[in-house]
Amino acid sequence: MIRGVIGVLAAVALWQAAVWLTGLPPYLLPGPAKVAQTLAASRAEIAQAALFTAAETLVGLVLGAGLGIALALAMAAWRPVGRALSPALIVSQTIPVFALAPILTLWLGFGLAPKIAMVVLIVFVPVAQALYDGLMAPPAAQMDVARVMGAGRWAMLRHLRLPAALPRLASGLRLGAIYAPVGAVIGEWVGGARGLGALMIQANGRMKTDLMFAALIVVVALSLALYAVIDAGLRRMLARRGF
């Protein structure tokens, strides 16, 4: 916590130093004081935009995590499905998903749907990959015990492979939580008039760089808050289960 505060203070100091040293005009690089002023002055506008971005992020995160978990379970439960899809999962990680944002807007319009779809796409792959890896690498001694006890395929999945994979799933969800707000912002950036991404694009177009920076800071704060909440929840969930 203290280290975090020191880090933020150092970053602000560095930023101010950069403004002084480069002598760039405020419409190119506004200083921290100016951005703080704008943040206060435009707080209603920024808060409303943040609300949209947060909603898209949360809905997308829940849907993406759910889809990723379902896919990983299906792949682990039916070997042919797993064998067929696991290369696809790896290939899909090489696709720069952001490049799909314009197409999503084309397909789904300018409402919330394409932004949520963007978040889903970004969250779903790391969650599915992490959980699938965990499900496919169950602890050997426990597997031996379960086999000798006569556990069937489903009992094995439900009582051993899935619980043993929870730490991996948690890693996937943490990654998803980090990427999710970025997905929402990119979606808003490409199409639409609402959310922090749209606000940033509009501010940029009108040379209101200070507003752009203010929105950016809110994106970062939102992302960190989301990550902190999810990380704390996952830690508690894992600790309760002896991990």
Binding site: A141, V145, A146, G152, A155, L166, G242
Partner: protein, 232 residues
């Protein structure tokens, strides 16, 4: 505790694994404790896994006559997300059966873990964990019990106590116990088998019911004899 159903008289493994061990015939004494000793890597765990019906990764050619088995490995293999009581009742959970709470409580009492029922394995000592695994093995109530270096992680005192406890609680079952400790074998084994790449050699066991006293002269003599065989 219920009287165990006896395992068939013919439980054993006969065959060979080229490159690992030559032709051998392992027969377990019905209702008795057979201790299996031998150098590291000679194939003791492989024989035990064959009896358990587990994959071995070696090219075994031969036949396995087994019976419904309970397994306790060197790694106790506890489920870290289940409590002590849930781990002891694991078999029922995995088979979708209902465990009898009174019986589980009796087993936890038998291994002297009463009061720790709701602990997770992470919050137990190594010796307590091995006793949970022992109770879980007993809860299976199988005629054949396979123990692979079950007490190797314990200190001398706990090893003695837990070994004696295990043999008493397993009375009447057909037991195969892999161990590296001649003293443990001399106290707990009704029969001793020493495994080498050439095959199995049976060594005479001292008289008397197991568990024997660790300091009885015939037990010390048997321990010395076994040690002699293992370092030869």
């Amino acid at each position: 505790m219920t009287r165990p159903t006896p395992a068939p008289a013919s439980v054993g493994v006969s065959g060979e694994a080229p490159g690992l061990f030559g032709p051998l015939a392992l027969r377990l004494a019905q209702g008795r404790v057979t201790c299996l000793l031998g150098a590291s890597g000679v194939g003791k765990s492989t024989l035990l896994r064959l009896l358990a019906g587990l994959p071995t990764g070696v090219d075994f050619r031969g036949t396995v006559d087994s019976a419904p088995a309970a397994l306790m490995g060197q790694d106790p293999g506890l489920f870290s997300w289940l409590t002590v009581a849930q781990n002891v009742a694991l078999g029922a959970r995995l088979r979708g059966e209902r465990a009898d709470p009174a019986r589980i409580a009796a087993l936890i009492d038998a291994v002297e873990l009463t009061g720790l029922e709701t602990r997770l394995p992470a919050n137990l000592s190594g010796g307590q964990r091995q006793r949970v695994a022992l109770a879980r093995t007993l809860a299976e109530d199988r005629p054949l019990v396979l123990l692979d270096e079950p007490f190797s992680a314990l200190d001398a005192r706990l090893r003695l106590m837990t070994g004696d406890m295990a043999v008493r609680l397993l009375k009447g079952r057909t037991v195969l116990m892999v161990t590296h400790d001649p003293a443990e074998a001399a106290r707990l084994g009704d029969r001793f088998l020493v495994m080498t790449p050439a095959g199995l050699a049976e060594i005479d066991a001292p008289p008397g019911e197991v568990p024997r006293r660790h300091d009885a002269p015939e037990v010390l003599a048997a321990q010395a004899g076994l040690t002699e065989r293992l370092i030869a």
